[in-house]
């Protein structure tokens, strides 16, 4: 195998275990490609360990996540609650508006009557 072919095969050879006899033979006799193998080994073990490098989430996130069962089972998620019951809320608003209208009408009428 030529160096270019080996270098193309090295990432998956190193990480995924795609073993090729040709690659192995070449590595045993080519210092340049063997160096390249070490680069990839270094890269992959570094990437793997990156997983344990975690970031602290915003403090409120934990409480938001922990309250998911409460919010989903008891309808405490106000926004989704309103969306789910949009029709009822709309009907309620309409009733309220009619009621308010009637009250205004009644008051005016009363004023007219007393005037």
């Amino acid at each position: 195998m030529r160096c270019e072919e080996v270098r193309e095969a090295l990432p998956s050879y190193t990480r995924d275990g795609d073993t090729g006899l040709g690659v192995r033979r070449h590595l045993s006799s080519c210092a340049g490609c063997a160096d390249e193998l070490v680069h990839y080994q270094t890269l992959f073990s570094s990437l793997e360990q990156l997983r344990s490098e975690t970031v602290t989430p915003p403090p409120e996130l934990f409480h938001q996540l922990a309250s998911i069962p409460y919010r989903t089972s008891r309808g405490q998620d106000v926004r989704s609650h309103v969306v789910r019951h949009r029709n009822r809320y709309a009907a309620g608003l309409a009733v309220a508006a009619v009621g308010a209208g009637a009250a205004v009408w009644k008051t005016r009428r009363g004023r007219v009557a007393t005037a």
């Binding site: 998956s12 680069h39 990839y40 793997e48 997983r51 490098e53 975690t54 970031v55």
Partner: protein
């Protein structure tokens, strides 16, 4: 060298016991809080690595746990819980990513926020004692074109299989392999040759 296997045990999160998962399945809210406490840091970091933006990462994390809570009954104990959770989380992050791209398709900004948000202390030790500084590695990852960064992150940081990645990204396995391969080569170039592309 020790070869990373697919779906490794969570390195930084505490193990979630089968008992906790069972209690969660039965609607135990205290068990759920324990589960969240043990895992949310890892899940948030995964989302941040894919999305590069803390606000988006927090939203994707919330979405992931909501899906996890609702889908817990579908989790069979044959896989590690963390593995299952990572799958749900990467799905949420990728779907957030797609909707964000649709929203911002006219903009061409890169997500370099990841550079400032991810930890920068220490270094990771490799075989033969070689080290790549965490900061240098994360900076190099952040400079990768987004599709390569996502592919390398899912495959080489989180150990996702090519098959599953292809499924989650909605691409063929061949395309997923190509992305991973190109991403790795570019990373090597940046870290060992000082190449930018």
């Amino acid at each position: 060298m020790r070869r990373p296997s697919d779906h490794r045990d969570g390195a930084s999160s505490e193990r979630v016991s089968a008992e906790i998962v069972e209690r969660c399945k039965n609607g135990d809210e205290r068990a759920w809080a324990e589960l969240v406490k043990a895992t949310h840091r890892d899940v948030y970091t995964l989302c941040l690595r894919i999305l590069g933006d803390p606000q988006d990462a927090a939203e994707a994390t919330q979405d992931a746990y909501l899906k996890a809570w609702r889908g817990l009954h579908g989790f069979r104990g044959d896989a590690m819980f963390q593995t299952w959770l990572y799958r749900v989380a990467s799905n949420s992050a990728l779907s957030k990513h797609r909707s964000r791209r649709r929203r911002q398709s006219h903009e061409s900004g890169s997500q370099d926020d990841v550079l400032t948000e991810l930890p920068s202390s220490g270094s990771v030790e490799a075989t033969a004692g070689a080290r790549i500084e965490v900061q240098a590695l994360q900076a190099a990852l952040a400079r990768l074109p987004e599709q390569y960064r996502t592919a390398v992150t899912l495959r080489d940081v989180y150990g996702m299989s090519i098959e599953e990645m292809a499924q989650q990204l909605g691409i063929s396995e061949t395309a997923a392999k190509v992305r991973v391969h190109r991403g790795r080569k570019r990373l090597r170039g940046m870290l060992f040759e000082g190449e930018e592309r």
